[in-house]
């Protein structure tokens, strides 16, 4: 138990720093940035209380907002993702989730891709809608969501696979 808590605290801090120090400044083609801090929400232990996940996600989003001067957009998007997580888990892992026996490190890759993709698209759509905050710029919102999502999904999958192999 203690080990898991420590791991998650380390993950929180490392992902936050990686996000604000590196990923916020990539600006691929001028505007495409990956938002890898959501890996924390994806990999948060399933057996933990959902309230805890909501609170921690809010905190994580708030810190990212603090660093990028963006009001509360990351906090809102992260909380939404955390709230939607059980639905995503159920739709991508099915029976495994019912039995509370998912191990992200050993699960099959197809389900993992579905899970990450759905979650990332939801998070990014809320993020960019709130950031741009103007319905007449809907095309810009969709464009940013699409390209940043691709970037985030690829990077998240790589990171998850890379680090899960190491731990074995």
């Amino acid at each position: 138990m203690n080990n898991v808590t420590g791991l998650n605290i380390a993950r929180f801090i490392l992902l936050l720093l990686a996000q604000v120090v590196i990923c916020n400044h990539i600006d691929f083609f001028g505007y495409i940035n990956p938002y890898i801090y959501i890996i924390f929400i994806f990999l948060f232990p399933i057996k933990e209380e959902r309230l805890m996940l909501l609170l921690v996600s809010f905190l994580l989003g708030m810190f990212v907002d603090l660093f990028s001067d963006s009001g509360g957009v990351h906090a809102a998007a992260a909380v939404s993702l955390a709230y939607a997580r059980p639905v995503l888990l159920k739709s991508s892992f099915g029976m495994l989730y019912e039995h509370q026996s998912i191990k992200f490190t050993t699960t099959d890759i197809g389900s993992l891709i579905t899970y990450i993709t759905l979650g990332t698209v939801i998070h990014h759509l809320i993020l960019f809608s709130l950031e741009i905050f103007n319905i007449s710029n809907i095309l810009l919102i969709l464009k940013k969501t699409l390209f940043s999502s691709i970037f985030t999904i690829l990077l998240s999958l790589l990171l998850i696979i890379l680090f899960s192999r190491n731990r074995k």
Binding site: H25, R50, F58, S68, V79, Y83, L130, I132, N137, L140
Partner: protein
Amino acid sequence: MQQIFNFVIRNKTFLLFSLLFSIALALTIQSHSYHRSKFINSANGLTGGVYGTMNSVDQYFNLKIKNDILAEENKRLREQLLNTNIATDSSFIDSTYSKGKYRITIADVYKNSYSLTNNYLTLNKGKNDSIKRDFGVMTSNGIIGIIDNTSKNYSTTLSILNSKSRINAKIKSTNHIGSLTWNGESPIYVQLEDVSQFAPVKVGDTIETGGESSIFPKGIGIGTITSFESDISGDTYTIQVKLFNDMTNIGAVYIVENLNRNEIRSLENNTNE
């Protein structure tokens, strides 16, 4: 009473979600007004410290470019010094020295963003260096933005690449003014709106700050005109301006304080009343 408790316990996840989401939404909406919430901005010790460490590493990679920029500026300043027509040149350097109307502070950019719709910069000077809200920020090439929030050692700057930014500007050859805005698309171009239809607009002309705002001195370069079109109403032009500054690569900046600003402000307030 029992039922209320039951309801709260049954829906505790949703209630907490609603609460947190509303807080985040409130902060977002607040951040879309001109002067933002004092709590969520990068002018504080924690973010300043992280960005400071990052900057001290990052600096070394840009030394060559910075040297070039400094050499270029030195050359320009030396030319100004040697030329005899200083008195007729209205650039900001002269007004600083001859009339003492402006005080300039040098600052390092700790954080710069240009890919969001509302961009801010974090600078390493704050209240301890008597930096206050609404001071101008510029480089040797042109303007960058306006100081927004300050903490003891850091300050955030509302970049000209921000949909909330509106800066008074004019076409250099004439006195036709407009307001400088940004449509959120390219960090290379900004838009000059509400320029009178009578203005002789030509592609390639220079846009500079107008003297109307008490933030920037008159005549600091902003960019050149690349294209222009009439508004729907047909009364005004909207001009595309290509910035002199490369907003994606800013190292050191100057913070400009107009020493007469309070006097101008109070005079204007009295007149308005």
